[in-house]
């Protein structure tokens, strides 16, 4: 059996066992969870618009950036009572960051749902220099930190919210070549 280290992505369905529902998304194009109507979730949406005003309407919050949304989410979850269900939709990187905030607040299995990501761009952490490389769509990436060509492994760290990128750093190649030369 292959154990997936990915976030448990699945289409969002309103969970009737919750008593309050919060839906966060990084784009207004993300659809509401299935089953909305029986209960209406509070919806927080990232809009790339500097004129966006928070708290414009009933249960509808607009935020100017994903970072602003995540900061607001961390503050909300720290005060939140038992019974909340959190739903997240958007890009892979956004979902990874929502998971970090939710885990830090002590939310557990059954309290958070993640929609399948809307893009294939992944965050990749360089295992050699710890640099986080954003928006990696290919299987390899040249690390922004150390310049090593990283192969993106199917190994996701929920704590870092990133996939492992592994390569052969220049310094290691040089050492191996030197060792080969000198026997």
């Amino acid at each position: 059996m292959i154990v997936s280290s990915q976030l448990p992505f699945a289409p969002l369905v309103l969970d009737a066992s919750g008593v309050r529902h919060l839906y966060v998304r990084d784009e207004a194009a993300c659809p509401l969870p299935e089953g909305c109507g029986a209960a209406t979730p509070e919806v927080w949406t990232v809009v790339s618009d500097a004129t966006a005003m928070a708290d414009t309407g009933e249960g509808e919050v607009l935020l100017r950036s994903a970072t602003a949304l995540l900061e607001r989410l961390a503050g909300r979850l720290a005060r939140e009572r038992v019974g909340l269900r959190l739903y997240a939709a958007g890009g892979a990187s956004f979902l990874a960051r929502v998971a970090i905030v939710a885990d830090a607040a002590g939310l557990g299995t059954g309290e958070v749902q993640f929609a399948p990501p809307r893009d294939v761009a992944r965050r990749v952490v360089c295992v050699h220099c710890d640099t986080l490389n954003e928006g990696v769509a290919a299987d390899t990436v040249r690390c922004l930190g150390c310049g090593t060509t990283l192969f993106v492994r199917e190994h996701y760290s929920r704590g870092l919210g990133a996939y492992m990128g592994v390569g052969e750093p220049e310094i290691l190649l040089q050492a191996m070549e030197a060792a080969a030369r000198h026997g």
């Binding site: 919750g18 309050r20 038992v82 019974g83 909340l84 607040a105 939310l107």
Partner: protein, 316 residues
Amino acid sequence: MVERSGYPAVIASVDVLTPTLRKFVLVAQGGRFPAVSAGSHVVLGFGDEARRYKNAYSVVSATPDGRELSVIVRRAPQSRGGSVFLHDKAQDGTPITVLSSANLFPVVKKARRHLLLSAGVGITPFLAHARALETAGADYTLHHFCRPEEKPAFEALLASLPPARIFIHDRPPEDVGMKQRMAEENIATHLYFCGPEGFMNWVEQTAAQIGFAAAKVHSEHFFVPEGGQPFTVVLAGSGQTIEVAGDETLLEALENAGVDAPCMCRGGACGACALEVLDGVPEHRDHVLTEQEKTEGRTILTCVSRARTDTLTLNL
């Protein structure tokens, strides 16, 4: 009958907490007990020539050297006699065997906060939990529910814990605003509960109403298997026929007949003793099988469940 295996011990002291609650301290003879942790239970073997008992009890405390542990037992006259034996016959020096131990009710170490709810003798696992949480510096609150006349005994039992974390109520949970208190818990809180059936049902329903996620709800049904109508069990493998008396469990009848039947908790909580039913209708009394499995009637937990029919055929 001598127990085939286990850790021999004697009762070192008997402490009368209330007319129906006694604390027994067990000291290992020539060795150490198996390792236990907060929430562990032990299966104890004891009795006399007339009758042997095997009952599971929560370990309320254990010394780090593994030579001493204690349990609290409520005298349950309607049960099959184990607790009555311990109350009436056990004294300092009475031999007793620790047959096995397991922890089916551990503290969730990564939880941010713990809310412990108990009623009556359901306090026993939480005596160990609270001490472990206290030692770890964890955030927890214990609410205990009991009859007014037993309140002083529980106050004495819990006296070593900080008063700010311990609440002892002599009224039912619904009368002291427990639902509201539960609803005010932070989203990170894990809920644990243990007590008699009515209390368990109340907490389970209330937790569901206020939206506790199932993964954060932990419970232990400590209930004592009760007797019922006698019936006959047929083992399909060996063709053996065994009579189950009204005051013994199916598991005990199998064991007394020398059948090596699986078991662990002996209280319908773990599912280790499940056997396949080939014929007859089981009377399910466990907390493991789903409603669907109970309706299908293909599986029986021998430690608590009995038969609705005169005969039950098992795939053993």
